[in-house]
Symmetry: C2
DNA sequence: TTTGTATTTAACCAAACGGTTAAACCTATT
DNA sequence: AATAGGTTTAACCGTTTGGTTAAATACAAA
């Protein structure tokens, strides 16, 4: 008579925890605030989740799967390289526009405790997904479809252009002044322009200097 | 008989505080740890800096100037556009390679307290430096030197490609496995490749799809 | 040597924190 | 209506935290 009904309370707690952890980070978050946000008492919180760290783990593992593994799954899907890159940009930016605080939250918490992340995110799986992509890139190079490029370098360019704007948003807004509305429009237009920047670089780069 | 000699102690404190704040963030940092790191007692810490927040302010304002204002100063220097962009990439990455933890630290702390940042970093000045750059970009477009582009978009691309790799380093390392040595080499090669990516996009982009 | 001032310390404090306990409260089954 | 088990709460606990205090120490100027 428990398993079925308490979906409500447990999910209210998880939703509240997600909100508070994302806003304040693990160190800044307070169990009392999570309890308030969920409309319950602090002791009940510990009844459902034994400790702050355990609650955080549940919340974080879930978010990691939704935002990291989703990206790497597209990265290893069986689409043609160019189409795939366009998808990796457009779908990722689309998702991040709905959750602009996620990239900074995830990266901060991984940096706070890198050892745990490998276990939590099933790093072995992601690593193998990346190797699959890596193979596809080398294939594209061999066939002359794209220029010579290090797959890690390519991945970094895509992740950088997709995610930095959301990570640096508070910084950029407070320093050069940029309304939320303007930011939103900019991100929308970036879905196309970032894809073209990356693909253009792969298909027809002309050396602009040196060796 | 004070002003002259205590440079030693005060600077030892600042150095220790910098290290601890950067490693743990404001919320994770402990005054006791800063005191230990500086080789002094906690009370002496409060003798020199009345509160944790005040000490943090001194440390953070200084770092903000060194890493943000430096970048925006190059951005508004009186060099030709293309040469300037190359400099903005190469010098920024060069600096970040010596201080890889800085971008994530700065962005996290700005996000934690955006209101304060505007005052701290002299946002008005940076904003005017950016307007100067913005004017130069429009000039380059009018003269047909580069393609049509939103200056904010251009700035975001440069900042993204420069800084995200350092921000996402722990994430990427724990997820796809990437040694510090390999990372270092990658960043070194990016000084050239990122500049070419940006400049190539500005000088000869060919539309790869749609309208 | 004495005096005044800068420097350093150990001991202490109140508040906030994560976490526990034991009892009360529902509510469905018998 | 009695029972049993899931659910909720107020009160409490030990620790850690940022911060204070008052006294000791070093040392230059008188």
């Amino acid at each position: 008579m428990k398993e079925e009904r308490d979906i409500t309370t447990e999910q209210r707690i998880l939703k509240a925890a997600r909100k508070v952890f994302i806003e304040y980070g693990f160190n800044g978050a307070r169990m009392q605030l999570i309890a308030d946000e969920a409309g319950i008492n602090k002791a009940l919180l510990h009844y459902y989740f034994r400790s702050k760290e355990q609650l955080f783990d549940v919340v974080f593992t879930d978010l990691l799967a939704r935002f990291q593994i989703a990206f790497f799954t597209i990265l290893a899907s069986d689409k043609p390289l160019i189409e795939k890159i366009r998808l990796m940009v457009e779908e990722d930016i689309e998702l991040l526009m709905k959750h602009p605080e996620m990239p900074l939250f995830i990266i901060s918490e991984v940096a706070r405790n890198p050892e745990k992340t490998a276990r939590r995110a099933n790093a072995a799986k992601i690593s193998s997904l990346f190797k699959e992509f890596s193979r596809q890139v080398k294939e594209g190079i061999a066939e002359g479809e794209i220029r010579e490029v290090d797959p890690i370098d390519l991945l970094m360019n895509i992740l950088s252009l997709n995610r930095f704007p959301f990570i640096g948003k508070p910084m950029i807004q407070s320093v050069i002044g940029l309304s939320d509305d303007r930011f939103q429009k900019l991100m929308k237009s970036r879905k196309r322009s970032v894809a073209e920047l990356i693909i253009g670089d792969l298909k027809n780069r002309t050396t602009t200097g040196g060796k």
